[in-house]
């Protein structure tokens, strides 16, 4: 293995805005709340920030999908940047943080501010979650035609949402491995159990297996509780060069390894193994870059935009065997905070809110710094994995506290 350059990077500060189902606030304001909080948390000032990264950046598309782009944050904080990037063609939402690690490792920046903000709750309004290209300010309507590498091959077939696309991945997993809804439920039930101890989570009231099985169907096998909850909120973190991180406010969280690979086809329907999706490749790459093993991980914060994605990440990352995710999570003991591999300790996106990827990395940092309060994993965790993305998108980071 050649030198693993991302080990020159560390997480040094985190920040989050208020989070709510529908806050009705200016999304740039939310974004800046998170950014300034992260800068302060690291013990830095805006003038210290010389890099800026975000996902997906300024763009049209689904309502509320992005709260601010690079240039808005750059200008609002009058940053003096040596390096910046914002875009959506990345290995998942955390691909932007992986880029930041590469930037500090290669000396292009010392302290990179990374952010992701959403205001889907407010933007989609009372009608609830919108499909892609339809409704709630989407591009639907007479004359609109689907184009592009994803939309051309999905929307004309009435597959308006990633809920449909990922549901098909789950259905295939059910078919090949005998996975059941009663098993998959534990991603949602575990999230809700943890959200009860997270005052910032959206849904905190107890949920039972009966509640889950009785919920209305969205796209088989997914019911309402398999789908995350659109919300308003912003998350930010600081990626610093490790040699610039030692004298900051917090103990740095070293980036042990990242996974950004996509070795299969970049497609929701053409990818070779629909049951693993691209998570397989990102996870494999990450483990190729470290001597740590899955058994060394103390806490896992794994994307659950749809429940099945978290199950697929558990398998991809090797916490259980391929196809064994259903039995592994059934009953919820192994993924509880005092279990084999504590999962989504803040409630994930299913109960915590759809902060879209960055919330998982934020929570990994919270846990490694021992600041989880009532939801803190016991035993002072030292190693955490944060992963985001599903379908042909996937990126993950392994963090370690010395």
């Amino acid at each position: 293995m050649s030198e693993v350059l991302e080990r020159r990077a560390a997480l040094t500060g985190i920040g989050q805005s208020e989070i709510g189902r529908r806050l009705g606030r200016d999304p740039l304001g939310l974004t800046l709340d998170a950014c300034l909080a992260a800068i302060e948390d690291a013990g830095l000032a805006p003038r210290d920030i010389d890099g800026l990264a975000t996902y997906p950046g300024a763009m049209g598309g689904a309502p509320g999908f992005t709260g601010a782009g690079i240039s808005e944050v750059h200008d609002a904080l009058r940053l003096e940047l040596d390096w910046y990037t914002g875009g959506i063609e990345l290995p998942g939402q955390l691909g932007s943080v992986i880029d930041a690690c590469a930037a500090v490792a290669t000396g292009l920046a010392r302290h990179v501010l990374c952010f992701r903000s959403v205001w889907e709750g407010t933007a989609q309004g009372k009608d609830g979650r919108a499909g892609i290209g339809v409704g709630a300010g989407g591009a639907g309507g007479s004359g609109f035609r689907a184009a592009g590498p994803t939309m051309e091959w999905t929307l004309p077939f009435r597959a308006y949402s990633a809920a449909n696309w990922i549901a098909m991945m789950a259905q295939r997993h059910f078919h090949e491995y005998g996975t059941t809804r009663e098993q998959l439920a534990w991603i949602a039930l575990n999230g809700r159990r943890n959200a009860a101890d997270n005052p910032r989570a959206i849904y905190r009231e107890p949920m039972t297996l009966g509640d889950y099985l009785g919920a209305r169907m969205i796209s088989t096998p997914f019911c309402l509780y398999d789908c995350d909850v659109p919300c308003d909120g912003a998350t930010a973190m600081i990626v610093s060069r490790l040699d610039r991180a030692r004298d900051l406010r917090r103990p740095p969280l070293r980036v042990e390894a990242v996974g950004s690979a996509l070795r299969g086809r970049p497609s929701w329907d053409q990818f070779d193994d629909l049951t693993t999706m691209a998570l397989r490749d990102a996870a494999k790459m990450m483990w190729e870059r470290t001597d740590l093993r899955p058994a060394d991980v103390d806490v896992a914060e794994l994307y659950d935009g749809f429940s099945f994605i978290a199950l697929a990440w558990l398998e991809a990352l090797g916490f259980c065997g391929k196809g064994e995710g259903g039995p592994f999570i059934e009953g919820g003991a192994r993924i509880a905070r005092d279990g084999e591999i504590p999962l989504n300790t803040n409630g994930g996106q299913l109960s915590g809110g759809r902060l879209h990827g960055y919330g998982f990395l934020h929570e990994a940092c919270v846990q490694l710094w021992g600041e989880g309060g009532a939801r803190q994993v016991p035993g002072a965790p030292r190693v955490a994995v944060a992963a985001a993305g599903g379908g042909p998108l996937g990126g993950c980071l392994l963090l370690a506290r010395d």
Partner: protein
Amino acid sequence: MSAVPFRILPRVTAANEHFWRGGAEGKLQFLRCNVCGTWIHPPAPVCPSCYGRDVVVAAVSGLATVVTFTLNHQPWVPAPDHPYAIAIVELDEQPGLRLMTNVVGCPAEAVSIGQRVRVVFEQHDEDVWIPLFAPVSGASGADG
């Protein structure tokens, strides 16, 4: 048959019209490498197997197998036929040559993985033929 449902239609271009308009002649068409025979989807002007540029339009049999599916219940747009079946099917001509589509012509609840299906076309707006798939009559296995 129920009425033709609302669909967001594809933007038809010179690069994809063989696919979206092949239904006018009852043909499901893809690009194919004229040298090594590889079927190419989505359309691209270079063969992904031999990297040759001699790529031509060719029709497949229209026979396929359901790889996976979902029954959509959520009213993303108003429609009279919830739940309807969205599927990924694999064409007989080549492993991995897949399409996202809808399975029609049977109750949504009758759709299953491994089901044998055949293309049918649904015309929209005079210029687009959406390839959908219906169960091959009376078959569950290797119906030709």
